[in-house]
Symmetry: D2
């Protein structure tokens, strides 16, 4: 099976490395080719252009966003030049509207699009322990299952409609943002009664909310440790925007997402856009005069 892999940022590099380790042959492409070098040392070949990577049985994309994916997959002519029967595993977080368009464009080209976004940060990707949300034609998913197994600890099947996986990914990120906001407001409240955020968030993370999302973001908030950014706040705004847009097209109001959007904008206006999105918690502190 000939595999193309496009997008070698923090996430993509780890995922591609795990495919190589599992014995697959990869032709990799990245806008900045320097990032491909470690993979070439592990046996990958380099594509000079996206089209070259698309000359494959399966192509995996892990590009930054809608715009990058549109540019590399559609505008470059890569998809149009793909051979019939290509299976495209789209693993980045994309909008519901753009995935709708991608599915249609693939159908026109005789290719198959599988949405397979993931939960997990860079270190999880490197460890091959991602949770993968997969939706698309079942036969195609079966074919790429060995690839998914090499990249993730578990594949969560979500049926034949790629949008289902997209929606779950977007909704999950919205829930993370909601947890951060709830911690931020609660920490501002308890601090106003003399409780240090570190103490409050330690209690929460060890009692009611004993989950990594709360413990990890809780520790960041407690220490005001927002740099370096694990996930930049401006990207958090983008993701909340994906939730709002996905909701709008199905007429689903999302009042928590609306609050998140407003507060993320405020955080950006106050200079926190390039910090980790846990800095959202500072909004509640600042508003109450406790920053």
């Amino acid at each position: 099976m000939k595999i193309g892999f496009l997008g070698l940022g923090g996430m993509g590099a780890g995922m591609a490395a795990n495919l190589l380790k599992a014995g697959h042959q990869l032709c990799v492409w990245n806008r900045s080719p320097a990032l491909a070098e470690p993979l070439l040392a592990q046996g990958a070949t380099l594509a000079a252009e996206p089209q070259q990577a698309f000359d494959a049985d399966v192509v995996v994309t892990m590009l930054a966003d809608d715009a990058a994916t549109r540019s590399v997959v559609l505008d470059s002519g890569a998809l149009a030049s793909a051979k019939p029967g290509l299976i495209h595993l789209g693993m980045a977080t994309l909008s519901a509207a753009f995935v709708t368009e991608l599915v249609e464009r693939h159908r026109e080209c005789g290719a198959t699009y599988i949405a397979a976004p993931v939960f997990g940060r860079v270190e999880v990707a490197a460890a091959g322990k991602l949770n993968i949300l997969a939706a698309g034609p079942l036969e195609a998913i079966d074919k790429v299952q060995p690839l998914l197994d090499a990249m993730g600890q578990k594949t969560w099947p979500l049926g034949e409609d790629p949008l289902s996986a997209v929606a779950v990914k977007i909704a999950g990120n919205f829930m993370i943002a909601s947890a951060i906001e709830a911690m931020g407001e609660a920490a501002a409240l308890t601090q106003s009664y003399g409780v240090a955020p570190a103490q409050f968030l330690e209690i929460m993370g060890n009692t009611l909310f004993n989950a990594p999302v709360y413990r990890n973001y809780g520790a960041q908030i407690a220490e005001r440790r927002y740099e370096p950014a694990g996930f930049r706040l401006v990207l958090g705004l983008k993701d909340v925007g994906l939730a709002l847009a996905a909701g709008q097209s199905r007429h689903v109001p999302l009042p928590f997402a609306s609050v998140l959007r407003d507060n993320l904008l405020e955080a950006i206006a106050q200079g926190d856009g390039e910090r980790d999105w846990a800095a959202l918690a500072q909004v509640a502190m600042r508003r109450s005069g406790q920053d």
Copy 2:
């Protein structure tokens, strides 16, 4: 050590039983004395009036709310009749304003008020596995530590100001409500893309949000299992109101709590007030025409 225990509802009954099991002598009181019978069988004595239970070295109250506590502790004259040096362990969820008043009234009577609200539902109370948030004069807390140990798996010390424990309890409940709302909105969003809430919430509870709050409320939401109520939605509104009031007196805006308040009111207007507060999730479903 002579101990009075007032308030034998689901929570209080289990807590009092654990005190008896640990070898303490209890004089118990409940508005409806029938609920005291199992404890009398285990060796407790019955107080005919609150005053009698307050004739003790330590008194524990687990009454429904501010109003019940005011009636039993203050209006009945029980506190006024207490002997000097009484330590009062207030373990119910009360408002910051009322606890401020209680602290003052105890000081006037030569008594000591410790705020010791808890995390954990009825079955956790019965098992003696509560998480207890304790704040008050340290010497007094030391004296009652054996009692706290009999009722809880862990005591989280929060300093000398009782309001600190009150604030943490209120903030924790607010965070639970926020988690329910986030799940409700996210489930409405993903359902509109063809994903069953049961599937979505199972993924969340086993990946990002692997904590009991998410798994348990997630299962309730997935199954629309809101009866019998583990915690009635009208009480959830009361608790969110405690957070809003506590924030207001320190000028801490809580936009998520405001959304929760509006949505809980809508749930009550739509007939869900006596169901479990997980029914808050139905608001998002209903608004998007998916109920």
Copy 3:
């Protein structure tokens, strides 16, 4: 007709003066009696205690809020000592819950409570041009109509239930606060595109929103003229709280009021509590980094 008048602040002083001008005899009371002097010069007599003012056929109260009214009318024993048949015109802005209690207490004393809150600021009260919202037993309203006519340009009858007038007053103040917030957000938006708030708000006040509320508050916002306060922001928070509480007891969610509450709290935390409530508009400016 013997008339008592209690509460001689900015509003009450003007209203009482207009009653005197219309030829009525007044026995006035104010916590600080110095404020009564101009009225005594116009022919009023001074009550040493509230009871004395309640020894009347009709009593008008224009006290600061629930607490002041409770203290003067109920706790002082004034109502209890009133002669049967007393008509009480409550013209201040009070909560729905407290007016419910007042109605009941008056009934017990054989007195009649009419809710008659007003729209109009101090200068309007002085000019006798208030808009008066009146609700209570119709026969009683008929009797006091000459008094209402002396104080207002128009009486808006709202039926027999005093709560109806209370609700309209509270809802009207909520709408004013909403208009201020909308202007604040809109001015922050347009300023970020290079339009001075003064220019934007002048256009609005002369086209779509050609009403005094928009023109007057718009001018204050445009000039950032928040001192001296015509209506203090902390009182604005109190009034929005009246709307939220009135809504809560009938299960009416008010999402705009929730936003207003959060933003007013933020304004107070940022130091604007004693300025005019038009300063609410600064919240949007500050959040967007434009203050």
Copy 4:
């Protein structure tokens, strides 16, 4: 002066007729040419293609939205074929992002773009009484002033940056939507206390809020008269979206706009999308169980 006019819907037809009445020569275009007929009878000539209408000194566009304007002005090649020096008066409500693009594209073609959106509905356009917000190169505005005078009662100059006029228009519509929502919530609140919306809104429209926006929308809400739609609710959602997007690109949070967006989505989900956007008021009624 040769004038092209594109977009002959309700608004555009009235505006074009007023230009003809003022003695100007018009070459008109509309996607559906039948709508041009009344204007042809008044002396206009018909353009078969947009390019033909762009063969002019000044072109006025009043097309439905961004997409229609993009299709007719850019994609058709009309702008590209325009003669150097063309002045384009864009009078529809467009997004800030698209106007930014339009300005740039006109500059590239040696043409000048003036943003001149309007306040006023169809009957106001027909009467030549629009309020026109004009921003662009001052010399160009001077040249088209006679045209603006023929269409409007007043031109509000907003400087040289077309985005300023766009922002004011968008902000104004946001304020109208906020007024509708405030009326809706307030009417739900007062109705729960027994006051008919008709009575409440009549009082508001004749006292504090004596402006057409409140009186007209207030009457619609009071009578639940949402059909035929003067302005469809789905367009209201589009306009609130323009405000949110304009705010986002300058980092201006707009919490009222966020509430509006959620509530408009709910109204659409409940079947009111094609009714007048005053139907937004029904959301508050429905949520409180009063519909």
